[in-house]
Symmetry: C2
Subunit: 137 residues, 2 copies
């Protein structure tokens, strides 16, 4: 917990940015939630001006602190593999429930193989499987 925060601060500084209070607060919001939409972030930080939230979300994305993920019809943000265990998503198109899957070695390996074959340096990836969950199908 504390370690993640100081890693985060180092990450910002290493890239020439200040580890300000609003940024740490934003980071903590991401630590508390699996994924957050822009609207949810703004609501979770009522003291902060929303343009600052926008700016910092952009910055976090550029620095790969967070990444954008699709979840059903929406897109949200969540901590990148630099700050959180990697996982994949099953999203129910009916009830919009999201099931997070643990890292899958078969898929990770295949992604490594595909990247290598295309002389591509893979930094991150997202896999979303959309369909119907047990209750909805």
């Amino acid at each position: 917990m504390q370690e993640a925060i100081s890693n985060f601060k180092d990450h910002l500084k290493k890239h020439g940015h200040f580890a300000t209070k609003p940024r740490v607060q934003l980071f903590k919001v991401f630590m508390r939630h699996q994924s957050m939409s822009m609207r949810e972030l703004i609501e979770a930080l009522p003291k902060q001006d929303k343009s600052s939230v926008y700016r910092n979300v952009d910055l976090f994305e550029k620095l790969r602190v967070i990444k954008k993920v699709q979840l059903g019809w929406k897109y949200k943000f969540e901590l990148s593999e630099l700050f959180h265990e990697h996982h994949h998503h099953l999203t129910c198109l009916a009830c919009e429930r999201v099931i997070a899957l643990d890292e899958d070695l078969v898929i990770e390996q295949e992604i490594a193989r595909l990247s290598y074959r295309n002389r591509f340096k893979a930094l991150e990836h997202t896999l979303e499987i959309r369909g119907l969950c047990t209750d909805c199908k």
Copy 2:
């Protein structure tokens, strides 16, 4: 080509919607392009009112004619596997170039396995690998 269009029309009718001229035009735009953003769609159909484009994109998404995909920092729409060969994406975060990969059996199989294990009916999926292409790394 013609066949895809009549399949599309049947698909609409089967689900209780009219195969109108604006919808067929929109479908043709998707046939001509790998992927399109909302803005690109509106620009590609200057005769159509943009609220109609929005409504039809929503409808297409609901009927799974198209699906939303992430491409780098943006998201776009492209024909779903019902109307186009399935594929995955490598996106360069620096130059934003997108490399489309052919269907990959290892990944498809693993997705089938994961879905089965979670009693989930998978309808579609998207995989995006983000990183740096040969020229940018």
